[in-house]
């Protein structure tokens, strides 16, 4: 019986995957992480995200107009919104507003549209903007809020807004109020007035920055990362940090697993990134525990989990092919470990992602699937006969 009518060629699986749907699900899976961030870091996170959203969408609208594209792309592919949310989550929580706006404009206008818009950009827009800001104003970009449970009631919307948008006076006033409120809740030992005299104790360099300065260097060979972390643990100043970072890490992991379950992102990239990074961190740590942090801490602090699921898996700038995805995740992980352990910057997600993006086209070409029979010389074919 001639069955050509019932036989169909591949693909048989018809999905409803569309760019806009992927992007909207991505934003939805970030909701737990945003809520956790607000709980531990105050409402500055939310203000940052909204600020980035507004400036990214306005820039995207203007550029779509300039490039004579239809404005409904704004809603249909929603990629500008994803860039905005990721950028808003990575920026320091109380960053002055003009820097967030400049970063968003840079991400959309120069990193995305100058290269040809969505799908054509070589670099991850959010991370490129982060590096742009980090190089532009290193002081503001490295002072993060220390996580304290219930920070949302200390760094309230009005206080955060005053610090982000306000002039010098209102900023100082809001900082002081937030500081007093936090100290009030912590029940610290000793004379409370001693703490009040500190100008600013709720923002500052992150844990990873502190660790970076505790590495033994030729000028200070006796420094020890292990000794420093043990000392900090002993004095009781770390548990809050731990709780905050574990909670945010878990929230990102939850969202990331949802993305994996919905097959929005390729599972190979986070798996290869986390295993290679974990393995290399372990090697460094076993080689010299005085100079390098243990892998568990590295996975916990900074943007490791967030980056593994949300940043390096960006479908435009990662490598889509199976073998390529393994190699891409591994490449970013190697760069990540090297920059974090040996470099002059505390966290390395942004830099390693950008370098990995630059290598992605090459990886993509090198892992091209070989056509059947291609690449074999006639003699070889003959031998197999």
């Amino acid at each position: 019986m001639n069955s050509s009518f019932t036989l169909e060629s591949a693909p048989h699986d018809l999905g409803v995957t569309a760019t806009g749907r992927i992007m909207k699900i991505l934003i939805l899976t970030l909701i737990p992480a945003v809520l956790t961030n607000i709980f531990f870091y105050g409402f500055g996170v939310l203000i940052n995200i909204l600020l980035c959203l507004v400036s990214c969408l306005v820039t995207e609208g203007i550029l779509l107009r300039l490039r004579k594209r239809h404005l409904n792309l704004l809603w249909r592919d929603s990629s500008a919104a994803v860039t905005a949310v990721i950028l808003g989550l990575t920026l320091p929580q109380l960053l002055p507003w003009h820097l967030s706006v400049i970063g968003s404009v840079f991400a959309i206008a120069l990193v995305k549209h100058a290269f040809g818009g969505l799908g054509q950009n070589v670099f991850n827009p959010a991370m490129a903007a982060f590096v742009f800001l980090l190089i532009s104003s290193p002081v503001q970009m490295t002072s993060y809020v220390s996580p304290v449970p219930g920070n949302c009631s200390h760094l309230t919307i009005s206080r955060s807004a005053a610090i982000i948008f306000g002039g010098t006076d209102s900023r100082e006033q809001a900082r002081k109020e937030a500081q007093e409120s936090i100290l009030e809740s912590l029940e610290l030992p000793g004379d409370r007035n001693e703490y009040y005299r500190l100008a600013d104790s709720f923002t500052g360099p992150t844990f990873l920055t502190d660790v970076m300065h505790e590495r033994p260097v030729p000028s200070n060979p006796d420094a020890s990362v292990r000794g420093w972390t043990e000392g900090a643990l002993g004095s009781g100043s770390l548990p809050w940090l731990f709780i905050g970072h574990i909670a945010t890490g878990l929230a990102f992991l939850l969202g990331g697993l949802a993305l994996l379950a919905l097959r929005i992102i390729d599972w190979r990239i986070p798996v290869s990134f986390l295993t290679v990074a974990g393995g290399l961190f372990t090697v460094f740590w076993l080689a010299n525990p005085d100079a390098f942090l243990s892998p568990l801490w590295h996975l916990l602090f900074g943007a490791t989990i967030f980056g593994a699921f949300y940043i390096i898996t960006d479908p435009v700038t990662a490598v889509p092919k199976p073998q390529g995805a393994w190699i891409f995740g591994g490449t970013v992980a190697v760069l990540f470990v090297i920059i974090r352990n040996l470099g002059g910057y505390p966290d390395a997600m942004a830099f390693s992602v950008l370098l990995g993006n630059a290598a992605a086209p090459l990886i993509s070409i090198l892992t091209r699937r070989r056509e059947f029979g291609a690449g074999s010389t006639p003699e070889v074919l003959h031998d197999h006969d």
Binding site: I102, L110, A114, F132, I135, S136, S137, P138
Partner: protein
Amino acid sequence: MTITEILKNGLWSKNPGLVQLLGLCPLLAVSATAVNALGLGIATIMVLSVSNLLISLTRRIIIHEIRIIIYVLIIASIVTCVELLMEAYTPELYQALGLYISLIVTNCIIIARAETLASRNSVFHSFLDGLANGAGFSLVLLFIGMIRELVGQGTVFAGMEQLIGDLGTNLKTQVFRSDDGLLIAILPPGAFISLGLLVAGKNFLDSRYRKKRLDKREAEITSVE
């Protein structure tokens, strides 16, 4: 080639900085402030016009097979003179520009103008071409320098006294506080980004002009019909 053509090519349509993208090394490295840019620009104009003049004068006696070596010899001696002049009259600027003055020898604009124009044109045309190309390059350099200085540290023409003495002390304009500047503009990435934006701006203006001219011609054709 007419005089207007030479001027137009050097300053706009074949601008060495924006169209030919020659001499990118000094263009990107020395444009962190307007003063440095202007200083190097003036030095380049001097070297370029004098080298074009000398090469055009001697073009009939230069042996064709070894012409590049002779060009470099001529250019290097002019650069040495300019360098000594700058060291004598603008010592601070000389310190700030450092190696880049001597590196004018290897600036490909100068060899390019010598090879393509001065070696086969009259003395006057060559000299004028040197001036036009040098001015075109210096304007781009100055423009990038002003943008980078403004964005990076909120000033324009800071330190002009290094170049023109007491006259320059009042030229400095503070637009906003230096602390609010975007440091990246002064660093190398800022140079690449501002040059890219300038090239894009020039292409935009060109395409708009071309479109206008096309529209005008079409209108003429329909009116004739």
